[in-house]
């Protein structure tokens, strides 16, 4: 099934649980003095602190994790979940990513 369908369903599920969700945000990027704004599109950002990337693929590749990590870095989100719905058991397709250093006391 298409990722977009899972995305819409999860969006509704989180909405029912009262968790505010975004799927795009405009961020300001500062690179060596040049500041520009860019609109980022991602799957789900739950309550401004947890980024969720949905996949429906055979195998999760390192590139998918890298993509999620770059979004986390750009949005300064400490935790990310990569969910691959193309698994019989969802736990087998679940990856939890932490922004480097975000959980160090």
């Amino acid at each position: 099934m298409l990722e977009s369908i899972y995305e819409r369903c999860l969006l509704r599920e989180l909405e029912l649980r009262g968790i505010p969700v975004l799927n795009q945000e405009e961020i300001a990027i500062d690179y060596k003095g040049t500041v520009f704004k860019e609109k980022l599109k991602f799957d789900l950002l739950a309550d401004g602190c947890l980024l969720v990337e949905l996949k429906a693929i055979q195998d999760v590749l390192p590139i998918h994790k890298a993509q999620l990590l770059s979004y986390m870095k750009l949005l300064n989100v400490p935790l990310g979940l990569l969910l691959n719905f193309h698994e019989l058991m969802l736990v087998d397709g679940l990856s939890r990513l932490v922004l480097p250093g975000a959980n160090q006391p």
Binding site: M1, I5, Y6, C9, L10, E13, L14, R17, I19, A46, D47, G48, C49, L50, V52, N76, V77, P78, L79, L81, L83, F85, H86, E87, L88, L90, L94, R96, V98, L99, G101, A102, N103, Q104, P105
Partner: protein, 171 residues
Amino acid sequence: MVQILGFPGNSTDERYRRKVPSTFPWYRRVCGPIQSCYRRVGGPIQSPEDGEAGGNALVKQNWPGTYSETELARHLFCASRIEIYGTSDVRVARMLSARENSSHVDYVGRLSNVSGVKRITILFPSRILCSLRFLLFHDEANNMHPLFAKADRLSGEVIGAAIEVHGIMGP
């Protein structure tokens, strides 16, 4: 976290290498808590009057390292208030006179009860290093991402929602 960097005599920073005469009024008040620390970390009880050399050995043996605020407070539990000053005689004198006239918080550490444990808070907004006769404290900022705890709590809820979706719409 509070990191104990060592004694002024140990420090590579010249500012902390000077000795503080034991005749200062605050000296006695500080000695008690420090000696109590020594007892609690299992080291030999040694009077600060023995000088920095003895103190340095003690610190080398027991103290360098990073301690949580509660852990440090456990060692310093008998102190109700710890005054922290710079090692410069002039500065100490100035701080003493300032303390008499106003509540100068830059170099003042306080113990307070937080969640049933005593906690030491060292307040020095403009500086991160100071000395307490022998010991140097470095107040490490909490580096944990401010949203991490919230995200961690939320992740369970989101995974639950995803399992629900997967159960209904999954392969």
